[in-house]
Symmetry: C2
Subunit: 437 residues, 2 copies
């Protein structure tokens, strides 16, 4: 083999094959104590024990030794708001007040391309710093913001998904488009960006409250014309939101029924929150393969309620877990897993750390129908890799003295870890934080 940009990472390797079926399901993942990942041309070429991978690697391949840290796939964040980097941690009441008081004013500023470009730098720095290598973001309703988002993603070589927020009512005029302009602009943007580098496009009606029936119809038309695109929106987050949606769409059988009637359900459709679903909605989510996206820090911060993971998955609904910055309070999937664990604890649903780490990596990749590309370290996957240090802080190091198993270590990372625990983030094989190469 002679690939000029090959690079070998040595360390303890964790890569999931599928969802662990309980704590003893060791076949669901690979764990290699002295392991290696060989990357080249943006992809993973080999994975295995250090000696084996080195033996098959190009001669004098550069080796970065990350021992004793843990090497795993980059985190995936399937629900985040790019224009809310400066909204995070605003003193909010519930959802609708929070939108009007903080979020809409902040999003208006993204009409200015230069503002979007500047915030994009900080936003992507935050993702990388927290070990997130793929995210699915709402941009603002301004095409400028979508361009700023994908230009920055392209500069960093990241597999990012995003789209222009479609909203033609219920928001300040400066944020509103029309059904027709939202169709035209979204179409132009998706044709411009999807497939350019690693970019993918998500058709993005914010939620039923800020879209007229005509706009949701336009979103449905876009989706049927571009089945390679994702669709993202919000569903059943807050009781007031649900009640208002039913007022606006009195003929719909329920909240999901609004989206359903415009053809927005399906295996590439991502529905943020899904906290207060009615039985019919659950049935249709499952039947259509639609994805329920759990946003723990946001759901607690806005007092939205408790996501019923076991109940939803028990009915066959696909799930993902996400930060929802800026309703969410942290860019870190580790912090998100911790608060997700806590929300489930309140409902007597006890989540094992092997399952949570699966969820934040391969699980989220499966929810995005991208597990052939991202979410694990198998050869052929794209080389989005993170290096986790479970002794990153003094409190963690003190705790780690008594840790004996991988599962315990993962739980320390989840419970005590934050961006400091992300020692390195590789995007398409390139170190972003500085320790590699």
């Amino acid at each position: 083999m002679a690939i000029s940009d090959a690079h070998l990472l040595r360390g303890r390797i964790l890569s999931f094959r599928r969802r662990p079926d309980g704590p003893d399901d060791t076949k669901a993942f690979r764990y290699i104590e002295d392991g290696a990942v060989l990357m080249a041309s943006g992809s993973i070429i080999a994975l295995g024990s250090f000696n084996e991978v080195l033996a098959d690697a190009p001669e004098s391949v550069p080796v970065t030794d990350h021992r004793p840290h843990l090497i795993t796939a980059g985190f995936i964040d399937p629900h985040i708001h790019f224009p809310q980097a400066q909204v995070i941690a605003s003193w909010a009441d519930q959802l609708l007040d929070w939108l009007n008081d903080y979020t809409f004013p902040a999003e208006i500023r993204f009409a200015d391309k230069a503002h979007g470009e500047r915030i994009a730098k900080g936003f992507f720095d935050a993702l990388i710093g927290h070990g997130t290598t793929t995210a699915v973001a709402y941009c603002s309703s301004h095409p400028n913001s979508v361009d700023a988002y994908f230009e920055e993603a392209g500069r960093r070589g990241m597999r990012m998904i995003g789209g222009k927020t479609m909203m033609d009512r219920g928001a300040p005029e400066a944020l509103c488009d029309t059904a027709q302009s939202s169709y035209d602009e979204s179409k132009a943007l998706l044709e411009k960006w999807r497939g350019r580098g690693r970019a993918l496009y998500a058709i993005t009606p914010r939620f039923a409250i800020t879209s007229t029936p005509a706009q949701l119809e336009a979103a449905g038309a876009l989706l049927s014309e571009h089945p390679d695109c994702h669709l993202q929106t919000h569903l059943s987050e807050n009781p007031n939101e649900i009640a208002y949606t039913k007022e606006l769409y009195p003929d719909a059988p329920d909240y999901l029924g609004v989206y359903e009637s415009y053809g927005l359900l399906g295996p590439k459709s991502l529905f943020g929150h899904c906290i207060h679903l009615e039985p019919r909605e659950k049935t249709r989510m499952a039947e259509t393969g639609s994805v329920a996206v759990f946003c723990p820090t946001s759901n607690l911060f806005l007092g939205s309620g408790l996501f019923d993971k076991a109940g939803l998955e028990g009915q066959g609904i696909r799930t993902a877990i996400a930060t929802d910055v800026g309703g969410g309070t942290n860019y870190s999937l580790l912090r998100t897993l911790d608060e997700g664990f806590k929300i489930l604890q309140l409902q007597r649903q006890r989540l094992h750390p092997l399952e949570t780490f699966y969820w934040a990596t391969l699980g989220n990749a499966e929810a995005l129908s991208l597990s052939d590309k991202i979410g694990n370290l198998e050869p052929g996957s794209e080389a989005d890799v993170i290096v986790l240090n479970a002794r990153a802080t003094q409190a963690m190091a003190l705790r780690m003295e008594t840790v004996e198993t991988l599962a315990e270590e993962l739980f320390v990372l989840q419970t005590l870890g934050d961006d400091r625990a992300v020692a390195e983030t590789y995007v398409a094989g390139n170190a972003q934080k500085g320790s590699g190469r």
Copy 2:
């Protein structure tokens, strides 16, 4: 004035006078944009504008300029477990399993004085690193652990409260004392430690499940003989715990009634958790001035339930907020305030950041009946001071660009901050993290 160890801190000053009665109650605190605190001999000598304080200060007093950071009183943590520094982030189910599987085995190791001394160093480093200058800790049942705790506190000059855990049943033999030995040992320890330097003693029966009636009677005797001591125990954390307590004490009217019948209620009595209180219990808590201690990260982590702050305070019950490490998941009062805010949001109790910062400082001091000594920066108070940096991380700095008010800044600190936001911790006037002097 000529005090040889005088030291002046310059920065933005926040010091509470009393609990803010809503966000507009600006008389509840002092906020000085270009302010100063003058410290000497372990106490605060003056507080005011920089120019005024400097004019009255000793000539050539050393000045540490902490601008643009915020200077406030050190955090107070009224419920924490010293022997659980290596239990934090253990994959727990509910309370009683967590005790048996993780906590008791860890506590057994504190029979060894050297182990306690070693962990004490890490534990106190964690407190200082997170800006906590006073804590009320459960030590293990071994007098050795109490000595290790107070010796380390003494070396650092900290006002710390703690006590030997009394437990004579329901735990491994290596942790159990007897009613008589727990009385004798507690008495010897409190006579040794209370008032030595800044140490205060808390009589510490763990909870009703691990104490026989005879031991609770001994605790009550100790408390009545030593009314200068605090009392700390656990109350109404978990449904299984409550049910088992009622089995063990079938004649008690309720859980609190157990403690009540042994004289353990009163204004210096700290009851951890108080989540599922019955009406009679609330009435007696209020009537006796007993304190309900809210432990948000612990209550979520163990799925214990939601603390009803408004309900308890509405009935006149005194409250405090604490980390409860290692059932709690973070030493940081900032992280604790964030999760506390979230628990209250779930109950539609919306807490203003001025109130949360009051709670973690002067509020907790009042709950400990120590507001004449700690919890604010008024002249005469002990010089336990922290310096907070709301731009400590990249995500915080990005958010802070749009922050205009003190309340917004506090909310950013609470929501996004952690130990990195604690730029300096002064204990009795002495810088502990290295930036001062």
